[in-house]
Amino acid sequence: MKTKIAILFLALALMVIPMVAGNPAEAASTVKPIKIGVMLDQTSWGSVTELLTIPGYKFAADEVGSINGRPIELIFEDTGYNPSIAIDKARKLVERDNIVLSLGPGLPAEVKAVAPYLTKNKVPVIPQYPKPLASLKEENWVVFPLGTNPMFGYASGVFAAEELGAKTATTAGLDFAGPHDYVAGFTQAFEERGGKVIQSQWFPGNVVDFSTYILNMKDADIAAVVFFGTLDVPFFKQYRELVKPGKRPVVWLWDEFDMAVNRQLLNGPAEIPTYSASALTYKDPQTRKDFLARYAKRYASVPAESAPFQLGYYIASIGLQALKMTGGEGGDALWKALLAMDRDSIKGRVKFTNKLMDTIVQIMKVEAGDAHYELVPAKQYRIHGEWNSDRTAIIKSVVK
């Protein structure tokens, strides 16, 4: 009996001691990694896009490797596109992992949830997407590498007026802050150029049948629509069924098109002239080619969807460049480095003014492909946003 008890205690000791002592290899090394949190939706409706950005984050980290001899460590956390989960993950990343930088989260509500906590703990945030205009007014450590939602919509308004020659537009979108922002930007640009938005429709978030809204669209030169997540495909499918071919072109104010799954779901080319606004841009075609070649050389393959993966790389590279400037240190030094940054990137110049960067928007044309549709670049715009006196960003000009 005593022997059995002794063996039991020995087994427990063998289990507990390593847990308490830690990893001998780590203990022997005095080099602490630079830890960067990457908050993404990996399991909810945003995962369709965000999972595809992961190779880009890893590529950026692998290219840098280490800063001042300290290896880069990315810690991926799943927010499930849920602000309350995002704040839990943020706490874990700060209190257990001691991150110096947060890449993501993506959803504006998630950023709003985590930003005050991360700011209080001196961890800057670089989100993956354009953000609501209202977020710019908050005094949080959040930078805007893709600009704001209205700036993004603005590019589509310019395109609709100048390239398509549209004089009237009808808009439609989900009834929450993001789509309202996009449409506001579109409307501003469109009406600055002599156009008129003759109708705006806002759908509740749980709409399942778009046919009524589509049939109620007024007879305008163009329809500007914005959806997120999983609703763009059903909407566009019903739009093609209910609108005559060639009539009322559609401009998507935010691109969810460039994914193989979307192409497969829509089963065939679009007969209605269709354009989408994409954030997934490169400085020039050679930069794109070189970037993909570098990835292929390192990993012997290229991800199936180059577009979202490019976004992950871009966001990560901004953060890593700032960390290089501080020698791997976080806190105030890192935040100042981000705000002072002025460098080149795969998308062109990275320079923040009052936390805000110009946004580069590529308008893509949807054209018939062999079995499904293809996206062809139509026009690229650089949208510059400038503060007014009460810090409501006013879109100042378009630099083409």
């Binding site: 806002w202 509740p204 709409v207 009524t212 209910l242 005559k244």
Partner: protein, 286 residues
Amino acid sequence: METAIQILTFGISFGTVLFLASFAFSVSLGLMGVINAAHGAIFMISGFTGITVAVQTDSWLLGVLAGGVAASLVALVIYLGFLQLLYKQALPQILVTFGWAFALSNISLWIWGGMTRIVPEPSFLTASVNFAGFPIPSYRLAMTGIGIAAFFLIWWMQEKTKIGAIIRAGMDDAETLSALGINLKPVIIGTFCLTSGLSGMAAVAASPVIGGISFGTWTYVFFMAIAITIIGGLGSVQGAFAGAIIVGVLWVGLATFFPALPTIGMYVGMVIILLFRPWGLLGRKP
């Protein structure tokens, strides 16, 4: 006038699809006294399953049948494993079925991810037809016809067959029926699985009309089913049909004039019915 015709046409069309999606909920509530909170999740997972089969086999029909089989099997597991052990315990039944709803929705997310799925329509139903001056997809017309046909078939089974009589008697007084020597249990199981199976087939077939099947489908199908059941009256297929048509026309009508209000309008309608006629329009007054 054209607007009114458009509202009625699309409202009835949408309503018949809602009927197919929700009548199983109404019947299980009336027959078993169970609020099957997993109804929407069964609908969703069977939709995913059937659409996957349809895409892999390039057969719309096989996909629809697969959706029905999947729904029946899931319903069978839920009933045999859980619901039959909680006879006449309303709150535990609700909690268990809610648990199942969350489990099934996360299983769906794990297997199929966050993207919306839509079944490819048969090639002869991809065109739109002109009706009273506006286009209507022929697939939508076909689904409307199927929904109406399904209503009459189910109504006939309920009203004109022996099984239907047993089901209706079981709704009224299960104990007396048992005392007469009629074993209600296989009828309950069969009805629960069959109605779920029909709902599963509807999930696949109706996916092009209801915005596809996605991770969030289970919540709106469940809450739509509650609204339809309350408005129409529980326990009868006529009530489910009437409720669905009313909700469909109300939804389309509100979407036409007040685009942001259809959901609110549906629940306001439900509240009005609960206040003034809580047994529903075609339900039986207690």
